[in-house]
Symmetry: D2
Subunit: 346 residues, 4 copies
């Protein structure tokens, strides 16, 4: 940590900063510059809260050199984490895992139809919400436990794994009984009670980036889960809030490269929420794979014009089929491969 002093800060201000650093149990090292002095805090274990120093007279700015996260960083663990799922499927290795399905479970017929369609096209994980976070209290909020049961039935029939969201600690236990991967949604990325609970489960967690979260904040939220004992975290870029109404969000594909540089955790991409428009999902799915995403999370609905939520960004099954073909070609071009469903794998 570096404490930048104001131009012309008197010697006593600098000494007070140094004394405070030492009182906090670290070493201080002053470095006078042409315009201003900088004081280094040496021995930072990542837990120093700079606001106390920022409050001292003569201090202009605090600069964090040490990253505030630990276990999620590449410096802590150099090899990429490979999250192992059932059926031998892995996220973070050579395979690009495609998770697809409708926004929400709506009925037995709908979810089975969707599951068969995405299975046929080559998806390996079925996505669909039983509990839905909705901006309005009057919007469809999901089928709840009944939805979880329908998901279990779809898995039974198709062999697909299940990823589905839990919105609070109580629900998380039910969700964990059914899901192969538990999703923590964008709105809950900084719901620390939920993160801690996820950290006490053994199941893989899919952690979506918050609507305006920096990568550092995303990694810190993952750190909550690892620090509580669960190393099986898959991150997900799903677009951040932007200023242009042309897309629902700005799909920040650089996040994939940034995460791969800073962390050993795998990261997948969600071009459906990332763009909000069906027409952009295929090109952005290709772009995500080309950027190095470890998987895709895509909304597909058997009949989008009858969807109870997110119809505008859901692919028709035939579009998903085309998306899969293109994703395979792109994956091969960069030396990876799209994971194939179980029987084909066997």
């Amino acid at each position: 940590m570096l404490i930048v002093m104001r131009h012309g800060a008197p010697e006593e201000d600098i000494s007070r900063v140094a004394a405070t650093i030492e009182e906090m149990g670290y070493q201080a090292r002053a470095m006078p510059g042409k315009q201003r002095t900088t004081v280094g805090l040496v021995g930072n274990d990542g837990r120093v809260d700079g606001s106390r120093l920022a409050a001292l007279p003569g201090v202009q700015e605090i600069i964090h050199v040490t990253k505030p996260y630990k276990q999620v960083s590449r410096e802590w663990k150099a090899e990429t984490t490979v999250v192992r799922l059932r059926n031998g499927l892995t996220v973070g290795g050579d395979e690009v895992v495609v998770m697809a399905g409708p926004c929400s479970v709506e009925s037995e017929q709908q979810i089975l139809e969707a599951a068969r369609a995405v299975r046929e096209a080559g998806a390996t994980v079925l996505r669909a919400g039983a509990y839905k976070p909705r901006s309005s209290p009057y919007s469809f909020q999901g089928l709840g436990r009944a939805g979880l049961e329908l998901l279990a039935r779809a898995r039974e029939e198709t062999g697909l794994l299940i990823v589905t969201e839990a919105m609070d600690a109580e629900e998380m236990d039910f969700v964990a009984e059914t899901a192969d991967i538990i999703q923590i949604g964008a709105r809950n990325m900084q719901n620390y009670s939920l993160l801690k609970r996820a950290g006490r489960l053994g199941k893989p967690i899919l952690l979506k980036r918050g609507l305006s979260a920096t990568i550092q904040e995303l990694l810190l939220s993952a750190e909550y889960i690892l620090a509580a004992g669960n190393p099986n975290v898959i991150l997900c870029e799903r677009g951040v809030r932007g200023f242009d109404p042309a897309t629902r969000n700005i799909f920040d594909l650089s996040a994939i490269a940034v995460v791969h540089g800073l962390s050993h955790l795998p990261i997948i991409a969600d071009p459906s929420h990332g763009t909000g428009h069906r027409d952009m999902v295929i090109p952005m799915a290709r772009a995500a794979v080309a950027a190095g995403a470890d998987g895709l999370l895509v909304e597909v609905h058997p009949s989008p014009d009858r969807a109870l939520s997110d119809g505008a960004q859901s692919l028709y099954p035939e579009q998903f089929d085309r998306m899969m073909k293109e994703a395979r070609l792109i994956a091969e071009a960069i030396g990876r491969r799209v994971a194939e469903p179980a029987e084909i794998r066997a």
Copy 2:
């Protein structure tokens, strides 16, 4: 709701949109324009989910004319809501209520000292966190229940009311036992389980705007609380995420005018989080009052350079005293007054 068709969309696409609207139980009214046709959905009760229509062929865009919130809107209730607190204090009327105190409860001495200082300067509500949402799992997370007890003691001694945060449903019950106002923080603005629980309590709720929430989203989150039965909601502008590192957030004071136009709920402003720098708190507190804020939420610490969190944005007691004096002058200039502590009121 208006469904804008693409330029040159064939008649059958337009008919299909109209048929779908009618199948959904509403009336359709087509309006051909020079470049494209728009179809109006008549009879919208605010619960129509447009994504189903957006998925139809030939549809370019869905435009929401009806606001998705109801009970929080001025159209639902024209007179401004006045939230009544203990001691006869009100939020939303002529009074400007100042809530002040440290970021977190750190010790008995600290919180009592802070409470006395802000009481002396004229605050009427003590703010301080017992449960703290922190980006890093390694940062100080608050004293928990012990902190709540210290807050109760501070109230006993000073007569100040207490506002403090609850981060999950379980905590909310404990917090409700002590707090006069329960805060839902920015990170939890869309934690719907928490909002629903808050709606089942009788106590006033202070709902902070999320880091990149639109006003409409803030109002929809408030709608969750009202819809669950609790009408005593105070909104709070606390800055939104911006691109300029010169301030911690962009303090969006227009939000006050926007909320006052769209909703009957009171809204206060938090210039401490809004700016992140002590030097900007006083001018921004003045600006908030001038803009029409129904109150202020301000961080004050007896010795900011010893604070365990948010030291850089906490005022020194003597600065807070000056802030109060200036806030009173501004309030008077616009025909309001800063609420004074109980004895003075009596």
Copy 3:
């Protein structure tokens, strides 16, 4: 400037950084930390371009401690700049100067009517565009030179000073013949050819903040003008691009406090563009004065529903009159006063 090395960067990388710094003519000072080494560049005169160092192996990040601007900074000149206009009017002192008028000059009748109305209510400077930057090539682009002549006539009749925009170097000379203050608009904040030309004029320049410019970028653009020889620069906050369609821009009033801290230049605020809605102009004008703005720039039109541009954010004359009354009260509450028109001043 501080060069932060990667965790575990080998000694040779550190030496290479140090050698490069010395080759560039500065001193290097290495400071080893617990997790990584930082190398300080000592002797920075504000002209060092860090990208060369950022390119060296082992470098993680470059941190700028020295501000890249000079003449605009408070460290260069501690006393606040007071820009002196004709008629004894000043910007940057105790007076709050109100500049008001229509978005564009539309006709002789319109501009004279507007000038009389704002003069009557107490404005001292008339604003109106003769050259208009419009997003669309098909929108009204201003009357050009004819508009400048009408502005001159309005000044003659009312005694108001004139502020009007120049969009390119050629126009700037014509504009300078008429205008008392030359405006450089938000879209041209980084039009360096225009800034340099403005720097060679003697007239005061009103420099508006770009749509997503940081304060540092705004100050650097002002530095172009000062560096070219013109010290009479008035900055203007006019809202930055945001994500919420509820307002046209986010009106960033903290910018006033930030600028007053970093620079000696005066800064005014434009609540019309800052919000985009007439209903919000009055509360935001009050907030701007309370925040310490050195003036206001406000759109007023004799009949906004006939305006050729920006009708929705233009005040009716009677609203402007009310705004002036409230602005005076707020200015007095903070120990300033709204500048009054010439005769009244005499």
Copy 4:
């Protein structure tokens, strides 16, 4: 255009809106809804300025259905524009054109070395600035005309075409003498005097998206050029301003899909400015090609650690070579090909 009235707006307000629309020369069509009335303006030729209507009493919101641009839209011209350059090179067809080189021309040796290196790796256009827009007046501003001469020499030697920036109208004529493609930079995207001048030239124009420009604003700026007579416009996505310091900008690859949907103009991508970090350029270049970009604009420097600007985001020649190999594979995977240098083409 749709004019949404406030809830409960009286009949006379609705009539006044209708009368104003007819006075403006269009037809009005009122559509009463359950909550509020909407009035449609029929006959909009894209030139209606809604602000006049927005100013009328009872009006809540103006909704633009008609796009404000014309000649750049796919509705105006359905077939994709193919911009033809010298040597038979085309932008907008099957070929993906790679433009590469240093940020600025620094010396004869540097530019020739860079030109040879990028030519060798397979680039077809040399990029380098002779006139450089720099935030600070004290940064290196480019070699000016001497730089243009060096670029001409590099073309002579390598056969590469030249793309270089013009910052004002005067310079544009000199630049046009040398350049094969004239670049208008992000900071000048709304410099309308420059756009109009570019529209009067016959040469292809590379128009970069502004730092926080919406796609609609980018297309409107292109419309200025087409409306003035020059149809040869190539758009460029180069990242927009974001909130995360992890990258210099947010590289908005969805812009490619959005532009391809709305406009017939080709669009290329600049992953160097888009990310600001050399390590992210290769994955983002792959992603851009996968997303459908019609070309790439990439910074390559013979020795980035000696670059006078943008060193941190410039590729080493060997990295660029690798990028080209990967870009070719991705292009093939989606049925396109990277354009090859002239002799190879012959």
